[in-house]
């Protein structure tokens, strides 16, 4: 196993790529009762057009299959549901789907290996029937309707729709009632067999473990599989431009919700350490622009326009990259214009060095905090892995980030013409 130690947070990563292609990462934590495991496949809602290794025709499937599969994986041939089996032994299990990956996980304090039997069994043995697929449509239908009542979700999706012409990131992860109605067991099996190959997956574990022993236990439970070629994924061409700058939806909310999107250049041709650096820089920039010590925040707070600081995310994968800034404001338009103005002002070099130094410290502290909890640690390593990054890199790189890089990135990546404003109001 490869061993990587980080002296800043005093944690160690053990990493191994198994013969069947599965990557296993273990971050041991002594004297912690909680154990957390997460097993993910590089397959999300964006992957609905692809060429199966060994075939030459493109397969197109309805939107929402990855999420549907996630729901159905728990069903077992013996009539049991693995979620129940795990719950019965005191283990808390779950699963989720994003744009670019699907993950299964559980946390527990006792019975870790008993749970591992069930966990690795159900992820490796799908069991779909016409009947159990039909039944799930009712449950997922209710999940879709639940999101319909979340204005936060609507304002977010509308911002993505305003930024992207073609990229499927703009679509609902669950699909729609209409698209899921077309899903059947054959489609599920086909997608399962394509994307749930170990070479397309990573497993991350954190807790009080001996890494070598744990790795052996994992290997014992893996089913033999043939090595396999690469999956070709087909994503639509995405123009650099946005679709439209402003979008508004009416919903029963007490105060307008906003989501500001900034469509960025793709990071896909960068090396992993450059991706990390860009990420650090963007985070510092966002805090300089709108963080609690920023001029805009003070101005808007004092005038009663906003009452809490915006949530700022930098989201990217191999096919998209954007910033999303969201929250509630009396007049989102004012916030949007202030932000544009400040970006232009910053581009001229009007950023204080001391602010930059201070926010670098803040960000360092935030990275250290990520290592408080085994579940956070494991999830972070998994998500970063799918982005081609080792999480420790953030701690390693941040110290050397220079003031000049901030300006460089700002000028290179932030384009006023690629900003959108999505608003939901009554």
């Amino acid at each position: 196993m490869q061993i990587i130690h980080n002296s800043k947070v005093k944690e160690t990563l053990y990493i191994e790529k198994l013969k069947n292609g599965l990557t296993v990462m273990i971050i041991p934590k002594k004297n912690v009762q909680k154990k957390y495991i997460i097993w993910g496949t590089n397959y999300g809602s964006n992957d609905s057009s692809f060429i199966v290794p060994g075939e030459d025709k493109v397969t197109n499937v309805p939107k929402g299959v990855a999420h549907f599969l996630e729901h159905k994986m728990f069903e077992q041939k013996n009539g049991r549901n693995s979620l129940d089996v795990l719950t019965e032994i005191g283990v808390s299990a779950n699963a989720y789907t994003t744009n670019d990956h699907t993950a299964y996980l559980y946390e527990c304090t006792d019975n870790f290996y008993e749970a591992l039997d069930e966990f690795m069994d159900y992820v490796q043995n799908p069991y779909f029937t016409d009947e159990n697929v039909e039944k799930e449509k009712g449950i997922i239908g209710q999940e879709i309707m639940m999101y319909d009542d979340y204005p936060e979700w609507k304002v977010y999706l509308n911002a993505l729709e305003a930024m992207y012409h073609e990229n499927p990131v703009k679509l609902d992860i669950t699909g729609t009632i209409e698209t899921i109605s077309k899903i059947d067991k054959d489609i599920l099996y086909k997608c399962y067999n394509t994307f749930y190959h170990p070479s397309n997956m990573v497993m991350v574990v954190s807790g009080d473990f001996e890494p070598e022993n744990l790795l052996e236990e994992i290997k014992k439970r893996l089913l033999p599989v043939e090595p396999r070629g690469e999956i070709k994924r087909i994503y639509p061409e995405e123009p650099e431009s946005i679709v439209k700058e402003k979008v508004e939806q009416k919903m029963e909310v007490s105060r307008p919700l906003y989501a500001i999107g900034i469509k960025l250049k793709l990071l896909s041709d960068l090396k992993s350490e450059e991706i990390v650096r860009k990420n650090i820089i963007v985070q510092i920039l966002l805090n300089l622009l709108l963080g609690e010590s920023s001029q805009i925040y003070k101005k808007l707070y004092d005038s009663g326009n906003i009452s809490y600081s915006p949530v700022m995310d930098f989201e990217f994968s191999k096919t998209y990259a954007h910033i999303l800034i969201s929250g509630q404001a009396e007049e989102p338009e004012v916030l949007y214009n202030e932000l544009k103005k400040q970006i232009n002002n910053f581009k001229k070099g009007n950023i204080k060095k001391e602010d930059f130094q201070r926010l670098k410290k803040t960000l360092y502290g935030e990275y250290v905090k990520e290592y408080n909890d085994v579940s956070e640690i494991a999830r972070m390593f998994l998500v970063d892995y799918f982005k081609g990054v080792n999480s420790f890199e953030y701690l390693e790189q941040i110290e050397s980030v220079q003031y000049e890089e901030i300006l460089q990135t700002l000028n290179e990546y932030f384009d006023e013409n690629k900003m959108v404003l999505s608003v939901v109001k009554a």
């Binding site: 005191g90 209710q142 010590s293």
Partner: protein, 433 residues
């Protein structure tokens, strides 16, 4: 892990949770007072006004800069309801000295001093808070109260509680009421703040790597020294006298929703506080986990919902069942839920289900020590429970729960209120007790 407490003065407790599992130290100050319609709104605004500035850090901007300089120390505050009490909560989380460069060490002392400064040393002029702070926070509080319906699932739950405890202080909304905001002025708010600080129960928590110096630092802190001893009023968890519920409240309310939110409020007429541990397991079997009766029958078998479950509120001995359903399926879902409650009464659950619920709960209990904030809240909960058990005894008590104990609880469960949030597409007559 080691938990100790120390009375600094009468009514003021320092709680120390020694724990080296985390990269951070978490510190908190909780001010507790009984819930009261007369004070609930002004109390609710206080944390927001206090965070605007202190004598030493006069503006919010200064506070933000100070926190950022401390490697992104996180300050948070808010107001909560714990049984019949209103709690004003103030937190600060800071990186442990172990993980920061030599020149910046000593952050924990700085953090607790800043926290105490925000709570006890506000930016006052002429016996009043700054007028613009108070006016701005009044507007913000109004937004919070008006925004109550934004999260439909949470709103439905809160409304069910209101209907269930009509005319009791527990029905009060933790953020207060719009009609009471207007009367708040910068001077009368300061007067009530002083009264609150003089009389409330004060709990100070330090969790993480704690050395002796830090404890001494706290005791020597000027803000702490200036506090007077007090005999605080607050309301502990107790079993109320039995009261039979003659009629079930049925409340249907309309809002612009796509999905109906159904909440059932159950009262547990327990005979003694010790039965609460059995009630925890009762709730686990009924709706607390993914293999509970509700999850299995409402979601998995009938395919009616994505969310379906229940939670037990120990302070009030009530269980809330909630699920999000297609509005048309109201009666169907209600029938299935009622059947589950009935089945529990009839003893239609197995020893195995009892054992599973116990395992699940004990596992969750053990995990508490691995999350700094949950652990802190766990210890705070002990302040309100007369029969407080240690962590180990708590686990042992859960392990002792038998099927017959759960059955006994099942017999004491009474459906009190049915609340349905819908869009008006089906007709349900409101029946209020």
């Amino acid at each position: 892990m080691k938990y100790t407490e120390k009375q600094i003065k009468e009514g003021i407790k320092l709680h120390l949770i020694q724990n080296d599992r985390f990269k951070t130290n978490l510190m908190a100050v909780f001010l507790t007072v009984p819930l009261d319609k007369k004070t609930v709104t002004q109390n609710a605004i206080l944390p927001a006004v206090l965070r605007r500035g202190t004598k030493n850090m006069q503006t919010q901007e200064e506070i933000s800069i100070e926190l950022e300089e401390m490697y992104g120390a996180v300050f948070d505050c808010g107001v909560e309801k714990e049984g019949d009490n209103q709690i004003l909560k103030f937190y600060i989380e800071v990186i442990n000295d172990e993980f920061i460069p030599e020149e910046d060490k000593g952050l924990s002392k700085k953090a607790i001093y800043n926290l105490l400064d925000i709570v006890f040393n506000p930016n006052i002029k002429e016996n009043a808070f700054k007028i613009e702070y108070v006016e701005q926070e009044k507007a913000n509080l109004k937004h919070i109260i008006e925004g109550r319906t934004d999260n439909k699932a949470r709103y439905a739950l809160e409304r069910c509680i209101e209907e269930m405890y009509k005319n009791e202080s527990y029905s009060l909304y933790k953020y207060g009421y719009i009609e009471d905001i207007e009367n708040i002025k910068n001077d009368n708010l300061y007067t009530s703040y002083k009264q609150l600080v003089e009389n409330c129960k004060i709990d100070i928590y330090i969790s993480g790597i704690i050395n002796e110096d830090l404890i001494q630092n706290i005791e020597e802190n000027e803000n702490i020294k200036s506090l007077k001893p007090r005999t605080p009023k607050y309301i502990k968890n107790e079993v109320k006298s039995k009261k039979d519920i003659e009629k079930i409240n049925i409340i249907s309310e309309n809002l612009d929703v796509t999905q109906g939110k159904l909440v059932l409020g159950l009262k547990l007429l327990l005979e003694n506080l010790d039965q609460q541990y059995d009630a925890i397991i009762y709730n686990g079997i009924l709706g607390g986990t993914a293999n509970s009766k509700l999850f299995q029958n409402v979601r998995e078998k009938a395919s009616l919902a994505y969310t379906a479950g229940s939670s037990y509120v120990r302070m009030k001995n009530t269980i809330y069942i909630n699920c999000g359903i297609e509005i048309e399926n109201y009666q169907k879902a209600l029938d299935i839920i009622k059947k589950q409650i009935e089945d529990m009464k009839l003893g239609n659950f197995t020893e195995e289900e009892v054992e599973n619920a116990k395992k699940g709960y004990i596992s969750a209990l053990k995990a508490v020590e691995n999350e700094q904030d949950s652990e802190l809240i766990y210890y705070f909960g002990k302040e309100f429970n007369k029969n407080e058990l240690s962590f180990e005894d708590y686990q042992k008590r859960i392990e002792k729960v038998k099927k017959e104990d759960v059955l006994k609880v099942a017999e004491l469960v009474k459906l009190d209120t049915i609340y349905f949030l819908q869009n008006g597409s089906i007709k349900i007559d409101n029946i209020r007790r």
